[in-house]
């Protein structure tokens, strides 16, 4: 075996979406040697698909907005199980991050008096989302990419990390492989930031890109870090329904933000029955359940969704404010949204849960290991507000970068041994060496439908119990998948490496969902339809010490007085 090349860095960042790139810029500015590793080409991360905008209390459209209101809205949206310190930092720092993005060249849409325009979104008291039409994610990622490139950040494209290496309790680096030639690669660094995004691909119908397979959460779990709030999976209310080929693709909340109306087959604006005050701009959990219920009770559209109309607005307005939606429906569904309504249905969109971190520093419980963005958890509680994701990436991406450099400055890199590399390599090669067995694609297909059926929008003790059993069996199958061909750009082999981790995350989701015997935010238990006040004080924590998955409740520190007084009333 040839000796594996070991790259050295002060800070290794896994993932090049918004959080990873923002962390990279912060770390580079602090003087560190930074290596960014990404599974795809640079600029293709799932962030590019974000549409509606970045939430920040700039107050450009309504001067009454401030961080306090943003904090309050975020906590209300998250049904008060958020990490309040994360929500406070996020609300306070988001505006500066948006302005920083503009200083790096981002070109947001403008108000009449020349400032950054902000649009309405569900759960936000005031118009708060800085945006570029409905392609805000592209603007964000391109701006960060250009900035990182101009600061000469090293980027390793199409590298997949399969293992973190832990020595003496702390992280010392990572091992993986390079896609274009299949070679094993290793990185040695005192500090590692996980910024790998979500895990929507665990569900068949989802809005996620190819990358959303929860790699970072799996790396962290295996390394001994904790995950939290895994039961909270956001089903975005409006995904495309038809044709089958595009089922699940996101229809931005900006459609509703710009005045879009939801109706059922009887022509009723059904949100009247679910949230008469906020109507279409209610929080995502409420709107998703509403659409699901309308369809289940027989009031669905021809392809089994709800109607979402924006055709009461002038055609020019629609094309200017929602250009990608116009193109998306025209190209894929032959629907002209300036003339006819869209059909929409909930789609798996976002993981509120993820790697458990300290809000200030983004540190996990493993020294040297940090996490930010969708891979991490805390800010969004039981339900994320639209627009709070992009601001999350920026605020906590920066914080993770700064903390990781501080750690790297104080700690030498630990030993990355040949044995550790060999063990990771052996694990990678196992699927190629098996002579028989299923492919990872077969296991993935079953995983996706299992999660849709048993751990979807509506859950019960029975469905979650079934999920637990089925997932345990599936995990065994995932351990024994077979891949064929070589290691060079081999999608079957790639899927085989990651499938067991995906099943492990699904197990954490199902187990956490079974434990939370109440309905809160995105987590709806049909058998426990109400809030349980006792469960408001706690978060689920998942970890695996090598003996299997353990899930427990952990109590949060109570809200300090200065934040408690911002929250007027607890929801009934």
């Amino acid at each position: 075996m040839e000796r594996t090349q070991v790259h050295e860095a002060d800070v290794l960042i896994i993932g090049a979406g918004g959080a990873g790139l923002r962390a990279a810029i912060a770390a580079k500015e602090a003087g560190a040697r930074v290596a960014v590793v990404c599974k795809s080409l640079l600029g293709k991360a799932h962030t590019v698909m974000a549409e509606g905008g970045i939430a920040a209390s700039l107050g450009n459209v309504d001067a009454r907005d401030d961080w306090k209101t943003h904090f309050k809205d975020t906590m209300f949206g998250g049904k008060y199980v958020n990490d309040w310190r994360a929500a406070e930092l996020h609300a306070k720092e988001a505006a500066a991050e948006v302005i920083q993005l503009e200083r790096w060249g981002a070109l947001f849409d403008r108000t009449d008096d020349g400032k950054i325009l902000q649009r309405r979104f569900g759960g936000h008291t005031y118009p708060r989302l800085a945006h570029v039409g409905d392609r805000t994610g592209l603007e964000l990622i391109r701006t960060l990419e250009d900035t990182a490139v101009s600061k000469k950040v090293d980027v390793y494209m199409e590298y997949t990390i399969t293992r973190l290496v832990i020595d003496n309790g702390r992280v010392v680096g990572a091992v993986g492989y390079k896609r274009d030639n299949g070679e094993t690669v290793a990185f040695r660094a005192p500090a590692v930031i996980i910024a790998t995004g979500g895990a929507g691909k665990i569900y068949t119908v989802n809005s996620n890109s190819w990358e959303g397979t929860g790699d970072g959460q799996v790396l962290a779990l295996r390394a001994g870090a904790e995950l939290s709030d895994m039961e909270f999976v956001q089903f975005h209310p409006t995904g495309m329904v038809w044709p089958l080929s595009v089922r699940g693709i996101l229809v931005t909340e900006a459609v509703r933000g710009e005045g879009g109306l939801l109706t059922n087959s009887k022509g009723e604006r059904f949100m009247q029955r679910y949230d008469p005050e906020r109507m279409e701009l209610s929080t995502r959990d409420v709107v998703a359940r509403a659409i699901f219920t309308e369809v289940r009770e027989g009031r669905g559209s021809p392809h089994g969704g709800a109607f979402l109309a924006i055709n009461h607005k002038p055609a020019n307005f629609v094309r200017q404010k929602l250009p990608s939606m116009y193109t998306q429906f025209m190209a894929f569904a032959d629907v002209d949204i300036t003339k006819e309504p869209m059909e929409v249905f909930p789609t798996t969109h976002y993981a509120m849960g993820g790697i458990r971190v300290d809000a200030e520093t983004c540190a996990t419980r493993i020294p040297g290991l940090y996490a930010a963005g969708e891979a991490a958890t805390g800010l969004h509680g039981a339900n994320r507000l639209g627009g709070n994701s992009l601001s999350d990436l920026l605020v906590f991406g920066r914080r993770a970068g700064v903390s990781a450099v501080a750690y790297a400055n104080a700690n030498q890199a630990g030993p990355l041994t040949d044995e550790a590399i060999a063990a990771a390599e052996q694990e990678m090669n196992a699927p190629l060496q098996r002579q028989s067995g299923e492919t990872a694609f077969e296991v993935l297909e079953e995983l996706g439908s299992l999660m849709m059926e048993e751990v979807g929008v509506f859950r019960t003790a029975e469905s979650l119990g079934r999920a637990k059993e089925r997932l345990a069996a599936l995990r065994e199958r995932a351990r024994n998948v077979r891949a064929s061909g070589t290691r060079t750009y081999n999608p079957g082999w790639h899927a085989a490496i990651q499938i067991e981790g995906m099943v492990a995350l699904a197990q954490a989701i199902a187990a956490s969902a079974l434990m939370r015997t109440e309905s809160r935010g995105a987590h709806t238990r049909v058998d426990y339809p109400k809030y349980d006040d006792n469960l408001q004080r706690v978060n689920t924590v998942s970890h695996d010490d090598g003996s299997g998955l353990h899930v427990e409740f952990r109590e949060r520190a109570p809200l300090p007085e200065h934040l408690a007084e911002l929250i007027e009333k607890v929801p009934a």
């Binding site: 080409l41 020349g114 990608s324 894929f332």
Partner: protein, 251 residues
């Protein structure tokens, strides 16, 4: 994909030009794919991968026309696999997919596009002015916003004959993608630089002879030729070749 909404039993003949690195000609492999109403070519490729050849290499991410990863050539024409519907292609013959021809093959439909990322590094970055307030009207940014819609699929690079038929031009010719990116910077209301000299000397924009192929293939419908390349060429003529200026300079 074998869903009950399948409209008919007809089978799609999908021909994929496969090959390893170094094998530019490749070999055509035919797959029989169940036709499903509304399906795009990427669905067919992924079906073949999922059910027949799991090592069939294709680059894709969003499958929603937003990331620009799945650029290839369908029936000889540069397109995104995820945005090309099977129903829009001739039904009486197979759908043939080959990798982008301007770049060398890594495997099957995946090509080495790293040259683009190297070229990008050479563009003088956004450099904000210091004498101006960060305030402007929507109309002041629309020109730049059009350029910033680019999803970097590199189809414009693929179709550009300056590099497609003479790959050796690559070091001295940036290609349409980077004329667009440079225009996006030059049109930014706060940018202080003028990149005309870069475009002329390092990006080789004068090698472009305005055949508009890049504009034709752009999935974002950016008016590359009219709004990025021609204005740049005019600025270069003004600055470097204007006979009046030359005469004045000469005196």
């Amino acid at each position: 994909m074998s869903d009950s909404t399948t409209t008919d039993e007809k089978v799609l003949q999908l021909v994929v030009n496969r090959g390893e690195a170094g094998d530019e000609r490749g070999q055509d492999v035919t797959y029989e794919i169940p036709r499903v109403k509304g399906m795009v070519v990427l669905d067919a490729v992924l079906y073949a991968q999922g059910h027949q050849d799991q090592d069939l290499a294709v680059r894709w991410n969003c499958k929603a026309g937003k990331c620009g990863s799945c650029a290839a050539e369908i029936n000889g024409y540069p397109r995104l696999l995820c945005k090309t519907r099977v129903e829009d292609l001739p039904a009486d013959k197979p759908v043939r997919v080959q990798p982008m021809q301007t770049f060398t093959r890594i495997k099957d439909l995946v090509t080495d596009v790293s040259w683009n990322y190297e070229m990008n590094k050479q563009i003088p970055p956004f450099t904000p002015r210091e004498d101006k307030e960060w305030r402007w009207q929507q109309r002041d940014v629309e020109r730049a916003q059009e350029m910033r819609k680019c999803i970097e699929c590199f189809l414009c690079q693929d179709v550009c004959h300056v590099i497609r038929y003479q790959r050796s031009n690559k070091p001295k010719f940036a290609g349409p993608r980077f004329f667009v990116r440079t225009a996006g910077l030059d049109y930014h209301p706060m940018d202080a630089l003028d990149r005309a000299e870069f475009l002329k000397k390092e990006a080789g924009i004068e090698m472009c002879n305005v055949t508009r192929c890049c504009t034709d293939v752009c999935p974002e419908h950016i008016q590359i030729t009219d709004n990025a390349i021609i204005p740049a060429k005019e600025r270069i003529v003004d600055q470097f070749h204007d006979p009046v200026k030359k005469a004045v300079k000469g005196t």
